[in-house]
């Protein structure tokens, strides 16, 4: 477990958080710019000294104002990946990678070869940082942090400086990181798509305070947090398992808490866990299943929550079963349609799903 309980005044802004994070998997610190998420990361890394509090990684205390402990940065053994990479310009890629490599941990993975292999760095080793693209630089920065064999990995918006294509190049590699070594990863981001793709646990940060902390699935389906998790891309994140394939139609069958979903063939083994993202605007509602519509996926559901209207549209949360922790879908429909259908809590309906986003790269998650 990672304990982060800190207070810090930064001018007019103040940080006051109390967190107990899981010591496995990727935890995303998500919030708007200036919410204080990078400050939290810097405090853990030792680059920002809190006014008071306690930071501990498992048994190791990194900071404790009561016990007057403030472990110096270089003794914390935390791998930090900065937004701007911060590669040493006077060294080659190889020298950068090995700068923090600890000889005291020879038996601990990963080796230089592992990292070079995972991050595709073999052709870059003798180059200088000034000859690398943005994406290559971030890959080297990630490799450098991994090779110091850290007790935890802290990533401060590692993809924020990259354009779409570069991001797509690095993102899959990030989700493969834990294949090398199981350490907790703290991932600061203000991009929901990165969080959904990578994180297991989500911490929402707002104005220097913790707004909520739970699994990505739970928090993205919560209505009261919509203003923090984002509205336009709003949707639900669901865990599913591959249950079969239909070769005739080129489809894969998935099970989401008992409900069946079909998507274009994934070529995955039966039983493989995947993460789905279904946006609210891709879900429609019908009182009876339409016989003559092109929707591939029509799931029986119950109206579980109706959001405050926002202009012409409103969001409706649909529970896919009667179980208390049933997976939920969000549907964004117009106020007029909601009125016409007479939607109310507990009403049995059918969710019509237009598109299902599949994330293949969360397969190696800790919930396997």
């Amino acid at each position: 477990m990672i304990e982060i309980r800190i207070r810090k005044a930064l001018g007019a802004f103040s940080l006051d958080v109390d967190l107990a994070l899981p010591s496995d998997g990727i935890t995303a610190l998500f919030g708007a710019s200036g919410a204080g998420k990078s400050s939290i990361l810097n405090a853990v890394a030792g680059l920002l000294r809190p006014d008071a509090g306690r930071i501990a990684l498992g048994e190791g205390v990194l900071f404790d104002s009561d016990a007057r402990i403030n472990m110096p940065v270089q003794k914390r053994h935390l791998g930090v990946v900065f937004q701007d990479g911060r590669l040493f310009p006077h060294m080659t890629v190889r020298q950068n990678l090995l700068y923090g490599a600890r000889s005291t941990r020879t038996g601990v993975p990963p080796t230089l070869a592992d990292v070079v292999d995972l991050l595709g760095l073999s052709k870059l080793l003798d180059r200088r940082p000034c000859d690398l693209s943005g994406g290559e630089r971030q890959r080297v920065a990630i490799g450098r942090a991994l090779l110091m064999k850290p007790d935890a990995l802290l990533m401060d918006e590692p993809l924020a400086a990259l354009d779409g294509a570069r991001k797509a190049e690095v993102l899959p590699m990030l989700s493969e990181l834990r294949a090398l070594r199981r350490i907790p990863i703290l991932y600061v981001s203000h991009q929901m798509d990165e969080v959904v793709r990578l994180a297991d646990t989500l911490v929402l940060i707002d104005g220097g305070r913790i707004a909520a902390m739970d699994s990505v699935e739970a928090l993205t389906s919560r209505l009261d947090l919509r203003h923090l998790t984002g509205r336009h891309e709003a949707g639900s994140v669901l865990r599913a398992t591959v249950t079969g394939s239909d070769t005739e139609w080129g489809l894969t069958e998935l099970s989401v808490g008992g409900a069946k979903l079909f998507v274009s063939t994934l070529g995955l083994e039966r039983g493989t866990p995947v993460r789905l993202r279904i946006r609210a605007r891709d879900v429609a509602i019908a009182l009876t299943p339409p016989e003559d519509a092109s929707f591939l996926n029509m799931l029986p559901a119950t109206v579980a929550e109706i959001a405050e209207a926002d202009g012409a549209s409103l969001d409706v949360s649909l529970a896919l079963s009667d179980a208390p922790n049933a997976p939920r879908l969000w549907a964004r429909i117009t106020r007029r349609s909601a009125d016409r259908l007479g939607l109310h809590l507990g009403l049995p309906v059918h969710a019509l799903i237009k598109t299902v986003g599949i994330d293949r790269h969360t397969l190696a998650g800790p919930h396997k």
Binding site: A45, G46, L47, P72, V73, Q74, K75, R76, H77, L78, G79, V80, F82, D84, R86, F88, P89, H90, M91, Y99, G100, R102, R128, P129, C130, R144, A145, M148
Partner: protein, 237 residues
């Protein structure tokens, strides 16, 4: 060179180079230390230190030379101390000339080094620390290598300043041929005596040549260093 230069002139040339090289050698480490303190340190009295370091730049060189004379003469406080502890005297010797040059060149060296230290992204040093590097390792592997262009510029500036040092030198160690008579002092002497124009012209030419060689060497080294620390050459030059 023997046919072109008189023996006095040859002696003055080698003496000048010796004095300049030694003045750079003795002042480079203190200059780095002071530049680090001024660039990174936060302490009361920092502006006082800054002022003292820059004093030789604004004081008349004769004043600096006179102060050195007062301090290091046979009866001066530091002169007595050197005599009793190490049995050496630097007044009126080439070592004294080197000291005078070093003092005069010091602020220029500190300035150049400090500027390049301040240009280093502190984030790189922070990154090195997160990778487990202690203060000394950060200094030796990140800070100083990245400040190399400034170190080089400071060294060349100091060397050039020493080659031309006149006022403080002549006041502190006088104008003794073979001991403290460097090129500028020799040139001054030749210019004072009738018929010395030809010799003065030769010394002028030597000075110009030395200056060009030093500039060329520094440009060459600067290019190599920029390449070494991974900064790309911009433009065609």
């Amino acid at each position: 060179m023997d046919t072109f230069l008189s023996e006095t002139e040859t002696t003055a040339l080698w003496l000048t180079l010796k004095v300049a090289i030694w003045s750079v050698i003795v002042s480079i480490l203190p200059a780095i230390a002071v530049a680090l303190v001024l660039a990174r340190g936060r302490f009361p009295g920092k502006s006082v230190l800054d002022g003292i370091v820059h004093l030789p730049l604004v004081l008349p060189p004769v004043v600096v030379g006179y102060l050195l004379l007062v301090l290091f003469s046979r009866n001066g406080p530091l002169g007595l101390w050197l005599k009793s502890h190490f049995d050496i005297s630097i007044a009126f010797s080439w070592q004294g000339a080197a000291l005078a040059s070093a003092v005069m060149a010091f602020p220029l060296m500190v300035r150049a080094i400090r500027l390049s230290l301040e240009a280093i992204d502190p984030g790189l040093e922070a990154a090195a620390k997160t990778l487990g590097a202690g203060r000394l390792r950060v200094l030796m592997t990140i800070t100083l290598p990245l400040a190399l262009p400034g170190l080089l510029a400071g060294t060349i500036l100091g060397f050039a300043r020493s080659l031309g040092e006149f006022g403080a030198t002549i006041t502190f160690v006088s104008n003794i041929p073979g001991e403290t008579q460097t090129l500028p002092l020799a040139l001054f002497s030749e210019a004072q005596i009738p018929g010395g124009e030809a010799a003065a012209l030769r010394l002028t030419l030597i000075s110009v040549v030395i200056a060009f060689v030093a500039l060329g060497a520094s440009e060459f080294l600067a290019r190599r260093m920029r390449a070494r620390i991974g900064l790309k050459e911009r433009g065609a030059s």
